[in-house]
Amino acid sequence: MSKEGNYRTDVTPVWCPGCGGFALLNALTTRVLPNLGIPRHRALIVSGIGCSSRIPAYVDTYGFNSLHGRAVTIAQGAKLANPDLTVLAIGGDGDFFSIGAGHLPHAVRRNVNVTCIMVNNFVYALTKGQTSPTTPYLQRGEGAFLSPGSYPPVDPVLDMVSYSVSTRASFIAQGIATDVSNLAWLIEEAIKHKGFSFVNVLTPCVTFDPPWLFKTIKERASYLKEGEPVGLPDSSPEQPWLHDSSNITLALKLAQTSVTEKPHIGIIFRGRSA
């Protein structure tokens, strides 16, 4: 039996061809779980609602495709009751940063040892293309969403990575769906980290995102390497500094770089293990 055979169920994914969900599925079933030697029965994947949240049906571990936005609550309950389980909470940007956003800072401050993987495709895809909190809508050429005469928002995009840093999540990484081996490595590091870990996966939505969006992200992606200079956007007046994932101030600066200008791929912050 192949390694993949060990961790994949026989259910065919509902995703569109080219969807970033496949990258995460491959990373988990062919690399992360076998590499870490986690037996199928020792892992639990809890998901929310959305395209990426269909993933539990495809991975032959324990799984629960639960409610929109609530995966992280169920995941923590399971981990607390059975600490031997490796528990992953998987969902999309709508799950974690819209309907379920209220749960994240509490997961962070409790630092329960679960890994939260946010498959960020910048759009509500399952419901066919509505704006999500991470949609860079101005770049899509749409008008402001507030009525004329009202104040425009300061920044229409809720930046989940800076949010995680500012709430001091103890492990924060950003991966990209087009680089499965790097993504798998990041998730492995996240799982190995003792405490709450958050992995943001930059993912194209081949159906509802404008094609330039992920193309831009992919072209400008910049890999973070410990001790090496970080990439900065051309517009940045700053000098690149040497990447130090233990420095939360630098992590915040990285996180605040617009993802369409310079998407940082790698471990953004790694605090002390619990």
């Binding site: 029965h41 799984g63 629960f64 609550t73 169920i74 399971a78 607390l80 009751a81």
Partner: protein, 570 residues
């Protein structure tokens, strides 16, 4: 000599009203007296009105009388705020600390100004022991009042405070030497063994521990918070998991997560929290995950009256949530029930793999009761979740349709039994399936597995003569007031009473009871008569059916229930 006595205490926050009531209740309990002590408090954090009623009884934990036999008042202004709940009768004996009341309160004939504060200052140097002085005075109504502390203190360490305040207590005992306390004196309790003192919220906690619950998740809310606080205390002593969640959605989500791993888990809340938990309750029903949710009902809708009782969450408990998601609804009506039914809730939830909502209410939850401890020491069967055996390894179907529709449930972590659950419509393997026939079959499974509960005669209490053709149906704490009124009216032979503890699915015994009647009265504390409408939806009611239903807040009085009950018996 009296068999029962209703004592009222009123004052401002900080007067020591609750301490006085609690100490008197415990002192009486040490001599074997039964009692109930509801507390009345307002929305203020500190300094508001504080009052309580204490019904001391020689035979059972009866609900307090409508009017007070005795009252101690420390503050007439605050009493005015509590007058609806602590009404005086013309026979009431009143001992009051400060100047006579102004305005609307008219003092009964037997009213005495007693300088509790001054005496306290005299003997202790401060006025703060005035409640202990009052306690000394009131202790003279108990049968053994000569030296009540001697026997009591070793039994109840909460009473040790009285030894340290011996001067104030003794000074109180010597007050009003001429007053004929024999008129107020209680005869000795019929059962002299010391009684346990607890409130319903505490009984629920003790039962949860007894049932094997080791994971609890909650969010503070009046009047359910004591459950969370006591669970925190208990679980932090053992191998338990306790977490105060960020909201009620998270609380029940955490509980479901823990339950997936096989832990008996629970949460407790009241109306607004139940609203937030509703989506998760549907998920638990659909994915067949055991969880116990306690609803200590308070007045709704919206914020309502947080500190007062009502029975208006019944509809939500039975029908709340979208889709056809069956839930088991159980309602306790007394202290023993809070304990026994919480264990039962776990048994049903674990056995049938379904969410169970245990309805309590503010009266049950927060009224401290002194009663016999038999129910705490009895043996209770503890049900376990059905788990897949060896024969299921590698061919496990989580939602296999079995003869009784209950499928063995693996614990997340069990080897060789991985499965993937979902809130989507699913097939026997748990895989998402939008096949309509499968959808229909899974509904049948989830509903029909609960059918045997209809035969649970033990979860329906019937009081009175079977041949009687006149009957009352009441649930929750209201049932206590119905029983009490019936007894006072001496109509037990004419009228029988049915108190369903299992509400949903509807037990057959309740239907049989209603079917035997020519005249039915439904009594409930819900403006829209939710219980009546539920019964009406389930069975044919006698053409002669009356409803006594009103909004909550104020407890039922015997006087108000007498009218409809006499009418029923006519």
């Amino acid at each position: 000599m009296r068999h029962r006595l209703t004592i009222g205490i009123a004052g401002a926050g900080g007067d020591g009203v609750v301490i006085l009531g609690s100490l008197l209740q415990r002192l009486a309990a040490s001599q074997g007296y039964f009692s109930q002590m509801p507390r009345y408090y307002g929305p203020q954090i500190r300094g508001g009105a504080s009052g309580l009623k204490l019904s001391l009884d020689t035979a059972r934990a009866s609900v307090p009388g409508d009017t007070l036999d005795v009252m101690v008042c420390f503050n007439w202004e605050k009493y005015a705020e509590l007058e609806q709940e602590l009404p005086l009768g013309s026979d009431s004996v009143v001992f009051y600390d400060s100047a006579a009341p102004k305005g609307s309160v008219s003092l009964p004939e037997k009213s005495f100004q007693v300088a509790f504060s001054e005496i306290s200052k005299e003997v202790t140097g401060a006025t703060s022991a005035k409640n202990i002085v009052a306690l000394g005075l009131l202790s003279r109504i108990l049968a053994s009042s000569e030296d009540p502390l001697k026997a009591a203190v070793p039994q109840d360490e909460a009473l040790a405070i009285l030894e340290r305040n011996g001067l104030a207590f003794d000074a109180g005992k010597r007050l009003l030497p001429e007053f004929p306390f024999t008129d107020l004196k209680l005869s000795p309790s019929r059962d002299l063994s010391a009684k346990v003192v607890l409130h319903g919220n505490s009984a629920i906690v003790q039962a949860a521990i007894r049932a094997g619950c080791r994971t609890f998740f909650g969010y503070p809310i009046t009047p359910a918070s004591e459950i969370m606080e006591e669970m925190q205390e208990r679980l932090s002593q053992g191998n338990g998991v306790f977490l105060q969640a960020e909201d009620e959605i998270a609380a029940v989500g955490l509980a479901l997560g823990a339950s997936l791993t096989g832990a008996k888990s629970m949460t407790a809340t009241t109306g607004p929290g139940i609203d937030l938990m509703t989506e998760m309750m549907g998920l638990a029903s659909s994915a067949e995950i055991p969880v116990v949710i306690v609803d200590v009902q308070r007045c709704g809708p919206a914020t309502g009256i947080p500190s007062k009782s009502e029975q208006s969450d019944l509809n939500h408990a039975i029908y709340g949530g979208h889709g056809d998601a069956p839930k088991v609804v159980i309602a306790a009506y007394n202290m023993e029930g809070c304990y026994r039914l919480l264990i039962e809730s776990f048994n049903i939830s674990e056995y049938y793999q379904t969410p169970v909502i245990l309805l309590s209410d503010q009266w049950l939850g927060q009224t401290t009761v002194a009663t016999g401890s038999d129910f705490l020491n009895r043996d209770y069967a503890i049900a376990q979740r059905r788990r897949p055996g060896e024969e299921y390894r590698e061919r496990y179907r989580r939602y296999e349709i079995t003869e009784d529709f209950i499928s063995p449930m693996a614990f997340a972590g069990d080897e060789g039994l991985t499965y993937q659950a979902t809130g989507l419509a699913h097939n026997e393997k748990g895989r998402p399936s939008f096949d309509f026939a499968t959808h229909q079959r899974m509904h049948e499974k989830r509903w029909q597995k609960l059918t045997p509960l209809r035969d649970r005669d033990d979860l329906v209490k019937v009081v009175g003569r079977e041949e009687s053709r006149r009957g009352i149906v009441a649930f929750g704490s209201s049932a206590q007031f119905v029983l009490e009124t019936l007894e006072e009216l001496q109509l037990n032979d004419e009228v029988k009473v049915c108190i369903p503890e299992l509400i949903h699915p509807l037990p057959d015994r309740l239907a049989t009871f209603v079917g035997s009647l020519e005249k039915l009265l439904v009594v409930e504390m819900s403006y829209s008569a939710q219980l009546y409408h539920y019964l009406r939806s389930q069975m044919n009611l006698p053409s002669d059916t009356e409803i006594y239903a009103r909004a909550g807040g104020l407890a039922f009085s015997r006087k108000e229930l007498s009218g409809p009950i006499k009418e029923l018996a006519r």
